[in-house]
């Protein structure tokens, strides 16, 4: 069976070499885990592998976790700090994706660079203040990266997420345990609230006005949460696709955002 035509396979010796190849040849692409690429790419001239760049690592610092771009999702979901960070929402989000087989080959780099609308991780990363580290572009927040009109032809080296001791909430609505989400919600409450809604079906984004509203309140109670959810429904655009209608997504958003906020203020 043929899925993707590959003219040449190149194992880059370092990030500079990979970056040069990527920018010299228009028909070149970087393969991270490769599972999604098999389904979405018809042909590649030069397929660049980063397998020799030693980007499979998780480094724990005082305030941050640094995760190499080629770290598998499975490695991440089993890391003790990731399992406990903000009620373990990143581990929870990752665990909800497909099965262990896919998570053993899918990488954090591929998940981020893909900017997948259906992603269950991007929302969790957004509320964990995720920052990205590229070879050329150096540092950029995940939020800003998701706003860029085009994905830069750059090599993602690592991501950083903030270590904080607050609460978190992650919920994904899907038809079966292996399905794409109809909607996913990620919340962290450290000193401040951060809220991300994903798979709307559009790509995850931060509910900034909603968070600002909550962060400006001295007391959070059910009435405030109700108001916050109203703001979110206004602020966050959801639409219809094969999996769910706009109207139903609005119900899901309202319901789970309310439940999530109630949960993190406990």
């Amino acid at each position: 069976m043929i899925f993707m035509e590959v003219k040449e396979l190149i194992r880059a010796i370092d990030a500079e070499a990979a970056y040069t190849l990527l920018n010299e040849f228009k028909g070149s692409k970087v393969m991270a885990g490769g599972a999604w690429m098999k389904l979405s790419v018809k042909s590649v001239d030069k397929l660049i592998l980063l397998d020799d760049l030693n980007l499979d690592y998780i480094k724990e610092e005082n305030e941050y976790l640094e995760i190499g771009a080629m770290t598998s999702l499975r490695t991440m979901e089993m890391h003790p700090t990731i399992k406990s960070l903000n009620s373990g929402i990143l581990a929870k989000a990752i665990k909800s994706i497909m099965g262990v087989q896919v998570r053993n080959v899918a990488t954090i780099g591929g998940s981020v660079m893909g900017r997948f609308a259906f992603s269950d991780i991007l929302g969790a990363l957004l509320v964990l203040d995720c920052r990205l580290y590229f070879h050329e572009l150096h540092e950029i927040s995940l939020f800003d990266f998701l706003q860029m009109p085009k994905v830069p032809r750059d090599i993602l080296l690592s991501i950083k997420i903030k270590k904080s001791s607050g609460k978190g909430y992650f919920h994904k609505v899907s038809k079966t345990h292996l399905d794409f989400s109809l909607l996913n919600i990620a919340i962290t409450k450290n000193e401040l609230f951060k809220i991300a809604i994903g798979s709307r079906p559009q790509t995850a984004t931060l509910a900034i006005s909603t968070a600002n509203f909550l962060n400006s309140q001295s007391v959070i109670n059910e009435a405030i949460i109700k108001k916050a959810v109203e703001i979110a429904c206004d602020e966050i655009k959801v639409s219809t696709n094969l999996r769910a209608s706009k109207e139903y997504r609005e119900v899901l958003l309202k319901t789970y955002l309310t439940r999530g906020l109630l949960e993190v203020i406990k």
């Binding site: 035509e5 393969m31 499975r74 099965g99 262990v100 087989q101 345990h177």
Partner: protein, 150 residues
Amino acid sequence: MKINLRINGQSRQFLIEPNEYLLDVLRKNDYLSVRRGCDNTSCGVCTVLIDNKPVPSCSVLAARCENKEITTVEGIEKEVEKLAKYFGELGADQCGYCNPSMALTVYSLKLENKNANIEEVKEYLVGNLCRCTGYVAQHEAIMKYLGDES
């Protein structure tokens, strides 16, 4: 291109195309226990172990597997016998198409967490679909296998 693959402890050299997936290379070279089901990582039937971790061989380029330990059921025969015994006892055998891929995944679960409870078993195996059994007897058999210290 030529690559060296270590399969079930044996080093072998193969001539492959850069875009060939591990599943096809294995089946072409008589590792027929590895099967094709869906070609998009949804079913788990093509599972092999790479460095004792289950991966979807339909979506892993063979060229990336050099210097890694690839395991198919032929490489864990004693464990398979044990699991097959419990499958037989609990009536978990139906068409059997998914059974080798299940044995490999269950074995890697045992290496990682031999005290897994039934919920953890279900979570670990969720990527291994079965259309025949309704899953119940498989889970019972797997729990017995995990509990078998022999």
